[in-house]
């Protein structure tokens, strides 16, 4: 198979219009180029999200008066916040469809899943925007330590993993208000975000980490985040044998020092290397490839560009396709791309069709956007997605939606080549020719194993 076909399907969103990176150096080059998509399809800043939030709660207070004007004002504020959820998804899809660097978009979704959070309801829905772009996208081509710092202080994460309700029991606020620890963020930080569940940490490390994290707080009036010294548990904390902070701990430095150490820990290197290989290459990862990526992580202290380079340069990353199934969001995006849609086409889709063909379709296939069931995110294994339910939803999508998206539909015999090039098997090419209608022919391509695997 052509290397360009493997590159597009394994490390991107499949073939489609436009020239795509066809080799490892090309892919790395596309990642070093300026990120054009982030300005073409921008997301809200943290300040903008907080302004929406402020307006939501302010009008909510006023609404209590029952004054019809105030009720209307709150309804408008509520809709303005609620709209930011489908906008986030639409911009993510538009970027992935239009991007000259599809690998960047794949990485973005990889990290958005690694640091799983849920889109919040009410006034806080828009916080996910800057979490996606400022905390993750802007740091995912730097050191992992930079990403970890950005994630751990972001309100989206502080709220999702209950850090907002964790107070050092021996702190000023803890003693005065009789409040205590919530271990959630500390635990997932060790178990999911860095060392991995097989990592060399104990319940004692979780407790100490939880105490060390006290003081991190969501403070909308201070720009979203503040270190609140009188929430911080006094005294040093020992995590994985290293001691952070002192008796008068009052800042972020001790927390960041612990995060930096976690980011370069050999367990973190192994956990993340394996996770990248599983996500991009195979549910049954080649140990040599994992070891190669993990070694680069350790050698470069988690320099993520170097890590991606290690992944891409290894021959085991270029083996035969088919080791994975596309997750539902990837399926929909690659279908859009295969059908020749542009970013502008995605943006021009009216609200209702977008809701049906993207938002609801994702939920039906088992992957509602940013609503994973737990902080461990979405499953990787192909059996998790190619279920009777998941597959029947894909088939239905493939048969019904293309004719709503492009007019006229392409000839299925051309479409199979456009979508899969030399990844199409002779059986698929034959079956597409034997379909009873053009729509069914195009649908067969999108429903095929070749299109759904990578």
């Amino acid at each position: 198979m052509k290397q360009a076909t493997i590159a597009a399907i394994r490390f991107g969103y499949g073939l489609g219009a436009g020239r795509l990176a066809g080799s490892a150096p090309d892919i790395m080059q596309s990642l070093r180029a300026a990120d054009a998509m982030v300005s073409a399809y921008p997301l809200l800043s943290l300040a903008e999200a907080l302004a929406l939030r402020r307006n939501y709660f302010k009008t909510q207070d006023a609404e209590a008066s029952g004054d019809p004007e105030a009720v209307k004002a709150h309804e408008a504020a509520r809709l303005a916040v609620a709209d930011t959820s489908p906008i986030l998804l639409r911009h993510v899809v538009a970027r992935a469809v239009a991007s000259p660097a599809p690998f960047r978009e794949r990485l973005h979704l990889f990290w958005l899943d690694h640091f799983t959070t849920r889109i919040r309801g009410g006034g806080e829905t828009a916080l996910a925007h800057s979490f996606a772009d400022t905390a993750l996208r802007a740091t995912m081509t730097r050191r992992f330590a930079d990403m970890l710092r950005a994630v751990v202080v972001h309100p989206q994460m502080l709220l999702y993993l209950d850090q907002t309700s964790s107070v050092g029991p021996g702190s000023v606020a803890g003693r005065r208000q009789n409040r205590g620890l919530n271990e959630n963020l500390a635990r997932e930080l060790l178990e999911l975000h860095t060392l991995g569940v097989g990592g060399s940490y104990s319940q004692g490390d979780v407790m100490e980490m939880a105490e060390l994290l006290t003081g991190l707080q969501f403070r909308p009036k201070d720009g979203g985040f503040a270190f609140v010294a009188n929430h911080a548990e006094p005294g040093p904390e020992t995590v994985l044998g290293r001691t952070y902070g002192g008796m008068r701990r009052g800042g972020l430095d001790a927390i960041f020092a612990a995060l930096d150490d976690l980011s370069v820990h050999p367990d973190t290197a192994r956990h993340l290397a394996r996770k990248l290989v599983v996500h991009f290459v195979s549910d049954r990862p080649d140990p040599a490839l994992v070891a190669h990526v993990a070694a680069r992580w350790r050698e470069t202290d988690g320099d993520l560009m170097q890590v991606y380079d290690a992944l891409l340069e290894h021959p085991a990353a270029w083996g035969a396709l088919g080791g994975k199934a596309k997750q539902p969001l990837d399926f929909i995006i690659s279908a859009f791309r295969a059908l020749g849609m542009t970013g502008a086409d995605v943006m021009a889709l009216p609200r209702q069709p977008f809701q049906e063909m993207v938002v609801n379709a994702l939920a039906g296939m088992g992957q509602p956007f940013m609503r994973a069931p737990g902080p461990d995110g979405w499953k990787e294994a192909d059996e998790a997605w190619i279920t009777p339910i998941g597959l029947s939803q894909r088939i239905r999508w493939a048969m019904r939606n293309p004719s709503r998206l492009v007019k006229p539909l392409p000839d299925p015999r051309d479409f199979v080549v456009q979508a899969l090039d030399d990844a199409a098997t002779p059986q698929l090419i034959w079956a597409v020719g034997a379909a009873d209608t053009v729509a069914q022919g195009v649908g067969l391509v999108l429903a095929s194993t070749e299109f759904n695997r990578r």
């Binding site: 309700s165 919530n182 271990e183 319940q203 190619i386 048969m399 009873d436 069914q440 067969l444």
Partner: protein
């Protein structure tokens, strides 16, 4: 024609799998099942997120209890046996308790210890193994291993219901999955072509065949009193509509050919404001059980429901009026086949010295042995098979006499 083809394919697949797993487990030759025993229905609910057993079944008779949780206990509990009270949100199940069709076991856990991860804890709960078994051997769920030992199995004997992955039922024995929205409707020509396209890829082929099968599955029987009562309950709407729909489907299948059903209930991870979060989860649990009772009609008398969770929660409330991940917890039994009206288990006490790691309820029993005794009494499974194959490495201990 197409339909016949797919049906044959599906049954052929199931038969092949039974043959395969029989060969792999010599212990099976010891299993003998009378068809009358195989009449019992089993429902397993996995309560994901770690149910706080101490709030659901409150040991109010322990003098240390009240002081550990000054901010958690809202409304008073419902008296059970003098020592324990039941959470008030379980009030809809009180009639079941009074008729011995509801029971609890306290201070139990899986062998999982110390890391208190939901995901690992659930994996171990569903695998039904100890911590000493290598990860690779934990891929199959204990309910699936049970199925591997049962003769006369077909693809509808066991159902995993809902969107959550049910590892407890996954493995080499054939199992069906269902969610309310499943359906596969394409033109006959496309179906034929898809079958050919998927033929070489077993994952796609089996998923598509099963989707076709599920699409054709009978809807609730509206001609009987039971079916109409069930349909009304499922159609009621409200915030528990989804769970009633899952439990309703389970009831309908179990009333017919299915013998084992498993599904998940979420919402138990009550780190904050437990007084308002836990009642929602308990409300769902109560609704699920009552939907099963209604939908099973006369078959409820032959039914055992087991609800189990990955671990318990801290004995002390945390700083945000909730509880954190702990160890020992409770399990819940229901059903007309149950000898309920009792809280089983050996109470370890709540003094500091009695706790596990000075923070959690000390487990004095293993959830697996209670599940195993239920399987033994319900299906007549040999003790050797339970200890060697379904829950490898488990020692059953004395029979708690769960069933009538």
């Amino acid at each position: 024609m197409v339909r016949n083809m797919t049906r044959r394919g599906l049954l052929g697949r199931g038969a092949a799998m039974i043959g395969c797993s029989t060969a792999a487990h010599p212990l099976l030759s010891t299993v003998t099942l009378a068809s009358a025993q195989w009449d019992t229905r089993l429902v397993v609910m996995i309560l994901r997120g770690a149910m706080d057993g101490l709030d659901v079944v409150r040991p109010v008779g322990d003098p240390a209890f009240a002081a550990l949780r000054p901010g958690l206990l809202g409304a008073p509990g419902l008296p059970l046996d003098g020592f324990y009270e039941m959470h008030p949100a379980l009030a809809p199940l009180q009639p079941l308790w009074q008729s011995d069709q509801l029971g609890f076991v306290h201070a139990v856990s899986t062998p999982y210890r110390d890391k208190r991860s939901h995901f690992d804890g659930q994996d171990l709960l569903e695998a039904g193994t100890g911590m000493d078994v290598p990860l690779a051997a934990r891929r199959e769920g204990w309910l699936n291993r049970l199925l591997q030992g049962l003769p006369g199995l077909d693809s509808q004997t066991a159902f995993a219901i809902g969107r959550d992955e049910m590892k407890v039922l996954s493995g080499s024995a054939p199992v069906m999955n269902w969610v309310p929205s499943v359906s596969l409707t394409v033109s006959p020509q496309s179906r034929l072509l898809l079958e050919q396209l998927y033929h070489a890829d077993p994952l796609f082929r089996d998923a598509a065949l099963e989707a076709i099968e599920l699409t054709e599955l009978a809807v609730p029987d509206a001609t009987s009193e039971r079916g109409r009562a069930l349909a009304q309950m499922v159609g009621e709407g409200g915030q528990n509509a989804m769970i009633r729909s899952l439990a309703g489907f389970a009831a309908e299948r179990l009333f017919q050919d299915t013998r084992i059903a498993a599904f998940s209930l979420g919402g138990w991870d009550t780190h904050r404001r437990q007084d308002s979060t836990l009642p929602k989860a308990l409300g769902q649990l109560a609704d699920a059980i009552l939907t099963l009772q209604t939908g099973l009609g006369p078959v409820w008398g032959k039914t055992v429901v087991i609800a189990m969770t990955e671990f318990g929660r801290t004995v002390r409330e945390n700083g945000s009026k909730g509880t954190d991940h702990g160890t020992g917890g409770a399990m819940i039994f229901a059903g007309g086949a149950l000898r309920g009206g009792r809280v089983l288990g050996r109470w370890p006490g709540l003094d500091e010295a009695d706790l596990y790691a000075r923070r959690d309820l000390l487990p004095t029993g293993d959830v697996r042995s209670y599940a195993a005794w239920a399987l033994r009494d319900a299906f007549g499974i040999d003790r050797a098979v339970l200890e060697g194959m379904v829950f490898p490495g488990l020692t059953l201990g004395d029979n708690p006499g769960l069933l009538r």
